[in-house]
Amino acid sequence: MLSVQRLVRLMLVSLVLAGCAVRPPAEEPAEPMTASQELAGSPALSLLGRAEAARQQGQPAAAERYLERALNIAPDSSWLYKELADLRLTEGDPRGAEGFALKALRLAPDHDDYRAGLWELVATARDRQGDSEGAGQARDKAAELRSPRAKPV
């Protein structure tokens, strides 16, 4: 009996180890970062949908209100801050856009392409505020994330 238990334990341990050996922690998820993935199951997702529709209908104020409501429900959503940043940029408020994009970066998962996109948004926003040096730095960060060589091995 004892040896069987030991055998089972050993098997379990080796299984776990095998699992560890073949699957090192991923640097980034295989799927691209999407809102439906980040906000899965949250009513914030439907508010995001309404915000997008309002934007398409030329109602930026309504879109903003939807996004603010969504943030009350899902306050740690990077995607919602990214949407707000986008909205501010198109509405001619680059300073607001920069703030939201930086907040989105702070909350962003380790997803290089997504983060690169946010740094590019920061760069554009800084350009429009006349901060070309800051824009350059943001662009460098984006490029670093986009370049496969730069990723840690």
């Binding site: 009513p43 903003e64 009350n72 429900i73 306050p75 300073r95 703030g99 939201f100 930086l102």
Partner: protein
Amino acid sequence: MAKKTKKSPTRSRGQSNRKKKKPANKRRWFSWSLIGKLALVCLVLGAAGLAWLDALVRERFDSHVWQLPARVYARPVELYEGRVLSREDMLKLLELMRYRQDARASTPGSYAVQGNSLLVHTRGFSDSDGGEKPERIRLTLSGGQIRSLNGDDLARLEPLQIGSIHPQHAEDRVLVPLEKVPPLLVEMLIATEDQGFYDHYGISLRGLARAMLANIKAGGLVQGGSTLTQQLVKNFWLTSERTLSRKLMEMPMAILLELHYSKEEILEAYLNEVYLGQDGARAIHGMGLGAQFLFGRPLEELEPHQLATLVALLKGPSWYDPRKHPERSLERRNTVLKVALDEGALSKADYDKYSSRPLEVVPRGASALYAFPAFIDLVRRQLARDYPPEVLSDEGLHIHSTLDVLAQLAAEGALRDHLNRRDPDDSKKLNGAVVVVAPAQGDVLALVSNRDSREAGFNRALDAQRPIGSLVKPAVVLSAVSQPKQWSLATQVEDGPIQVKLPNGDVWAPQNFDKQSRGAMPMVDVLAQSRNQATARLGLDVGLKQVAGTLKTLGVQRNIPLYPSILLGSLELTPFEVAMLYQPLSTGGFSTRLRSITDVLDKAGQPLARYPVSTDEVVDAGPAFLTQWAMQQVVEEGTARAARRHLPADLKVAGKTGTSDDFRDAWFAGFSANHLAVVWVGRDDNRNAGITGSSGALPVWAQLMGKLPQRSLSQTPPAGVEWVWMHPDGRRVSAEGCGEARRYPMLEASIPEDSDGCGAVKKTGKGIKGWFKGLFD
């Protein structure tokens, strides 16, 4: 008496003199040509007067019919599956919003309890995202959460009206268009006040005669002869003085009104204009506001006996005031119901049913309107920056505010309970203020400025400027850890006597609260134990300029004098300013302007302006995380650990106690991920209040935070910060289980190369490299 007897002969002499002269004048007065001329003048004057009256009538009626003060609403309650909301709180909300119980929830503003679930018929509202239509929703509440919501994944209750913005002696009104006025109200109104309304031209001789007859019969004044149109003229254009000139103007104006406008327009104006009473300085005009004022509900939702009470008021708003004179009011109400029965507006069955109902007037002051004066004051100040006073008092704006009714009630309750415990006698010397903010969006959720929260007056939350004491210390820590090559939270700081010679020759020698010095200790303990001498030493090493700069960065707008005493909180701020100062600390370095308003809509519900969220990164992620973690230790093991009793064991919160000299001010400012609350307790006369941050303010904060749904502060360090076991000397890394080694979040630049040689020393590497390294180590 003596004067009188002396004077009278003189007067009679004068009179007799005049009498003598009169006959001579009399002859000339009766000259026919003069009469002709006078008649002409009168005719011209009369025509001019009529034209003037006509212009007056049309101008006021057309252009600016009603003064509509801006109305302020709380944030609409968002309902969705998984939202933390207890059944008790939901019912409290429905009660505040005057929902009535109705087995089928058949009309807006009603609800039914059905076992575990609630059927709620919402009222609908306008918002800049389009708002909501009235709808029936079924929600199941259990375990303090919404378990299910029928159909949609989201619903909103209409926002509770919490006040209106009007000048001190202005009119207040809730405009109700005629099509929304219950027809029964119109029928009762016409039956009791002006039966010939649809037939006359503004004045009614028949009505006058009938009134006179009725009055003679009754032996007193039971009916007035004025038509509704005349009453409107009185309400609309004329003062309430009973002068002859007023009477003379009333009739032609009534006729002119009828000439220009339809009966419907006149009726609508009457219903919205009529004066119904007084609420302090606020005049209650119109049936819409009357319904709110007496019954706490929209006019559309009133039942027949309540409508009759409103009509009963017309005969004398103060004489028939149902709160002051309930018996008189009830009698008059039943007369109105009887007239409605006689005129066929009400069935016999309904008459019997409703005339036996009590008045059902809500107690004065029970309404949510004017219940939150401190918050409304904040809204008013923020609006005043953008809108001139006449726009706010006249144009009927809808102001959507950030007030969270449940947070507000929790804050009021916490302050009241604590002060009643500490300061129970009638003298009530202690008072306080509470500010609650949702830090990420900067929304002010609650504002309390008085232990008697309904009392307006001195707004302590906004205007009580007091020394912040140890609340300043996190800024000293932040300034230090922002220079990671020199300082980390593990750095040893000497808690010992310190003396600084000031430019004026004085010597500044701060003492610790316990009058003792504890020697060297890690920086995190300096904060957690709120050591004054160690903080002073650290602050002087970091530099007064740096600390002042940090305070400015965090949001202090006042001038900060560069005295050493600022390191221990000689800086004076209001509770609201403290909330501004702590807001970036609570969000990991993102500064967000505090707002009390989200949207402004016009009177038709069309969006006019938004007050959007905006945020700036003012502190880098790393130092912000370290400071926040150090502030968590204040609650975990420091001066605020008593708060833990009120909070869930696994909830991570942070904060700081503050006490000013001579125990005048007690402060606590602290936060979870979703609520930042600042509490101040002290005396208005600024005397020794015998309280500390821990004893005077922390209990309020803990009770309040314990009542609200909370989320923990993130324990995941940002890029560039690692968890490191440090040797107690703060200069060498160590390992878990090694003597007195402690684990700290460390900025990479401050992790020492040296190790104390104990255990398997390893920096926690990130990513694949670290993982492989870990595998082989």
